[in-house]
Amino acid sequence: MRSAARTHFEHGESEYQPIEGQIVWIDRHTDDDKLFVIDLPDGVSLDHDPGQFVQLFVPGVGEAPFSIASSPTKEGPFELCIRAVGNVTNAIHDLEAGDVVGIRGPYGQGFDIDAIAGQDLLFIAGGIGLAPLRSVINYALDRPAEFGDLTTLYGCTEPAEQLFPGELDEWADSDVMDYRETVDEVPDSQEWDGDTGVITSLIPPLEFDPETTVALVCGPPVMYRFVIKALREKGLADDRIYLSLERNMHCGRGLCGHCQLNELYVCLDGPVFHYPTVRDKEEAEV
């Protein structure tokens, strides 16, 4: 096995050289989502910013981008929460603890910690969008002194779709963070005694100070416009909103062109964007 340091590559220092990540633990969250805990050689840390992503390569199947779901405050293995939607993601779901994958990264711009330091943080996650947000949520939970009030809103289509079920319970019990959740609907076969309704329904009842609050948002493409509208109605200024976006991505490093959104490259300029940067970009669809 190759030595671990990310800065050392055997082959011409190529940026395309993955390092070996070993899956050390897998936790099933829903029918379609699993959490993968991945260890890098010699136990080094990924050393990422919350909100950044890695390119994960499954030998024989292909490569895909995934947001890092764990916080850099946690040393050692990092975590990815992956939804099985296609080729690579299905294959990852078939892997077992002990299997090796290739890791490139971390890539992209994460959440601007300097900019949000000292602010009240409002996390708004829809579905699999919780994965990237969890890195910064846990960052804030680990360093509560660096931030003001913490609030998390989480919406899913149905109860069985909730990610990180155990952790959600902890958040709900936490006195450090105000955690609220909703589901779009409750099928007869499932139990639920919380709120129902789309995620935007959680915003109007919230009490927060628009002058000191920063919203960090991630979810399916359709969600952004409605959430932003609701936030604006609460008086939150546009420059207090951060979004994590997702696009097709092949190289992860600004060349392949697939993730381009007008002149921006999601892999270089994002995936986390300051809302004013993308507000007027038609292709951002926000």
């Binding site: 024989g60 296609g86 080729n87 690579v88 299905n90 294959a91």
Partner: protein, 266 residues
């Protein structure tokens, strides 16, 4: 074509595969045999349990069924249904299986006339379906490998994908892309016409590279701009009738399906 829930084989065991032929020229199976010594490598990674063109043994226990040829009779339909029941993954092999291919050339001819032309006075005893159909008109198909015949590399790629628990990827870009890769002189520049701009790629534009033009054998891309393309052909001097003839050669079924999707009748 492929969706997230499409099944795959990935539990590490050598998957069992079977080949079946329906109405067609058996060119796709021949392409498999034409892998020559790579066929021996292939049987290292899969276990062939049925391949009538090349072997006597036959088993009904298989995960992947490769089906060549289209559906012409009720008997074909029954046989296919059984294959679907036995297989986890059904792959349409070649254009006849995938979208009726050249077989559908007769679909807009009057069936009585068709029979008459071929069998004369004996035509009454012919019991085939009045039109040629692809297999997905009868059973659910997981993947399609188009081509008349299939491209050997693409076939090997699809098999190795399935064996690795991945999905075969069949391009949705047109033949033009690979034709430009090859630096062929464009048929239009030579005063000919070509169906490459809206035909599904993946064949390395082999016909253009061999000095002719694309006949459309891999079927249309998912969302062809047929209207604009018809204009292009008109600009290059083709009459409406000639354009329809070009489209008929391989695309009769697909064009009918698109028309049906737009509210028409087959």
């Amino acid at each position: 074509m492929s969706d997230a829930s499409a099944p795959s084989v990935s539990d590490g065991r050598r998957p069992r595969v079977a080949f079946f032929d329906f109405t067609g020229c058996e060119g796709d199976q021949l392409q498999v045999i034409n892998l020559e010594d790579r066929l021996l490598d292939l049987v290292e990674v899969v276990e062939v349990v049925s391949f009538r063109e090349a072997m006597t043994e036959h088993g009904d226990d298989y995960e992947i069924a490769f089906v060549e040829g289209g559906v012409a009779t009720a008997h074909d339909e029954r046989r296919l249904t059984r294959i679907r029941e036995n297989a986890d993954i059904v792959v349409a092999l070649g254009s006849c299986a995938a979208f009726a291919g050249i077989n559908a050339l007769r679909n807009d001819q009057e069936f009585e006339t068709v029979k008459e032309r071929v069998y004369g006075e004996d035509s009454d005893s012919i019991t085939s379906y009045p039109i040629a159909r692809p297999i997905d008109d009868v059973i659910e198909v997981d993947y399609e490998i188009p081509g008349c015949p299939i491209d050997r590399e693409e076939f090997v790629g699809a098999v190795t994908a399935l064996v690795n628990g991945a999905e075969p990827s069949i391009p949705n870009y047109p033949v033009c892309v690979e034709c430009k890769f090859e630096e062929n002189t464009c048929a239009f520049e030579r005063g000919e016409t070509c169906l490459g701009p809206i035909t599904r790629g993946g064949c390395s534009a082999t016909c253009v590279s061999a000095g002719t033009h694309c006949w459309g054998c891999r079927g249309m891309v998912d969302d062809p701009n047929e209207g604009a393309y018809t204009d292009v052909l008109e600009d290059h001097g083709l009459t409406t009738e000639e354009i329809i003839e070009e489209y008929q050669l391989y695309w009769n079924w697909q064009r009918d399906s698109r028309a049906v999707a737009d509210g028409g009748n087959r």
